[in-house]
Symmetry: C2
Subunit: 322 residues, 2 copies
């Protein structure tokens, strides 16, 4: 295998920093995981990326200068043109950090910085479930609901870098309070907290596996537990996922009517329950969205799994002109 055209992708998550050497074919050659705690400040993060890159290069007998570059996805608001981190969500101490310049100075190689959801969506578009799509909506389901857009083959960032915030699509005017401070956002209806609220209500109706599983877990409910109950045939647990799917379909219908995508790729931890919520999602979307907008859209599960952030960050290097 030729090593020309390899890049390093770095995914700065809330818990871990994942990094990997990625081939031009989208394969992760070697990877590393660090704890985010130790690298939370901009200076420490730059050092961490430099060390991890050096270690990945060493392991493959490469010099960093032989790489196409280093792409970094971070959970926050980015000025992609300048490679500046305007702010990070849930990580203090990051305000207008010229991360790209600092990384390039530390490593002497081309670096690209972008929002992590954008990177993931780009990765899926190039090497995952979005391959061949021209107008792609990427959705990440987890604690919150993230989103990214790849329109006409490139990441769409909007006027000031904040585009793609699908999780804060309104589905109920004046509805549930959302983490963002507003009301009625999709995230307030399908984020992990909302799924667990639905589950607590379902628990009362459950006549199947949900009750014993919950008892076994000492009442510590998780989305995985609800999936397990659904897998074992618990009707109340199945209805939780159907309702999650329906709500997702309602929220996505607004984005579909506005953007008329050809594909929607859904990933993140909650996508593990795909089989349980996808049919209801597709039904709700087909019923709610305009026929012209929805009839040819394919709703598919993300394929890159745990590697999505790393691969997507590497793809940034190959996608961005400077």
């Amino acid at each position: 295998m030729s090593r020309r055209g390899w890049a390093i992708g770095v995914d700065f998550g809330g818990t871990n920093i994942k990094a990997g050497l990625v081939s031009r074919g989208g394969e992760v050659i070697v990877s590393r995981v660090l704890s985010s705690n130790a690298y939370g400040s901009p200076s420490r993060f730059v050092e961490g990326v430099r060390d991890i890159a050096a270690s990945l290069a060493r392991e493959t007998s490469l010099r960093i200068s032989q790489l196409d570059g280093v792409g970094v996805g971070v959970p926050g608001l980015i000025d992609a043109q300048r490679g500046t981190v305007r702010m990070l969500v849930n990580v203090p101490g990051w305000r207008d950090v010229p991360l790209q310049r600092r990384l390039e100075r530390a490593m002497g190689v081309r670096c690209i910085v972008d929002n992590d959801a954008n990177a993931v969506t780009l990765g899926e578009c190039r090497f995952g479930a979005g391959r061949g799509s021209r107008q792609l909506i990427g959705v990440t389901l987890g604690t919150g609901v993230g989103g990214g857009l790849v329109l006409s083959g490139t990441v769409y960032r909007g006027a000031f870098g904040s585009a793609g915030e699908l999780g804060h699509t309104v589905i109920v005017d004046g509805g549930e309070r959302c983490r963002c401070g507003s009301r009625g956002c999709l995230e307030a209806y399908v984020g992990t907290a909302a799924i667990l609220r639905l589950t607590r209500a379902a628990l009362r109706r459950s006549r199947g596996a949900l009750r014993p599983l919950a008892a076994q877990a000492h009442g510590r409910l998780t989305p995985a537990l609800v999936s397990e109950a659904a897998r074992r045939g618990d009707a109340a647990a199945k209805r939780v996922w159907q309702e999650v799917g329906r709500r997702l379909g309602i929220g996505l219908s607004s984005a579909v009517n506005l953007l008329n995508p050809d594909r929607i790729v859904i990933g993140g931890g909650i996508a593990n329950a795909w089989a349980f919520f996808a049919p209801a999602l597709r039904r709700a979307l087909a019923r709610q969205a305009l026929p012209a907008a929805v009839q040819r859209v394919r709703v598919v599960r993300a394929r890159l799994g745990n590697h999505a952030g790393v691969v997507g960050a590497a793809v940034l290097v190959w996608s961005e002109r400077r």
Copy 2:
């Protein structure tokens, strides 16, 4: 004034076909209006456009071949790449009509066909209230709620030409029935019918000008009548417009979070009530949308007024590569 670079714009509306000769500076030099009734079929429409173009050219001592081209905005679903009308909304007999080819054959000049809301938004972007914007959302308020997107300076059509359908953004999951057949769409809350519903409820509370104005009109309520009552200080009428503005702000917040535009241009007949609904719209948008997405967006009233469709259609000629 030089005549080089002039184009004809044609706006195919439900009632009228408007056409005008437009200068490269966006000025309408001469214009014509025909009744849509007589030109409803594809063949008659092509003849109508040919005749109107000939007449506009004659009046300015031009030959059609001296024009840059003819742009046509139609109310329906367009395959812009091929210039084919897939279908028209509310006009039967239009299914997969290769309108661009037929117009070019009839007139011997370059023709461009697009959705009318796209044309209007493009016109505002080039010559109206959207000047200087890179990421623009155009909204047309009337019987229904239309929308168009100009992203990175060009019309965004989506994968199959139906993008921009802002009116069918959900604001209430399972809410009011919409003309599109779904429930809870923005249009079902701020379209003319919804405004009149709000007005009928307000009439009962009104202690000002709304009641006598409604009586004078023999109960035939119109948005213009509600504006007049608001202008005369009727508090109930003012609250109708405040509620319309608030709902618009909620609906637009989803689009703003998704697209992070730098400007929103609002036109259409209902925009005549701008002074009465704009403050509530801006407040609701600022409260509902994410700060990063909304803080630098300007919400402004459209400027091209009655000419928007004609100017926008002409701009199509100068914007599209073939």
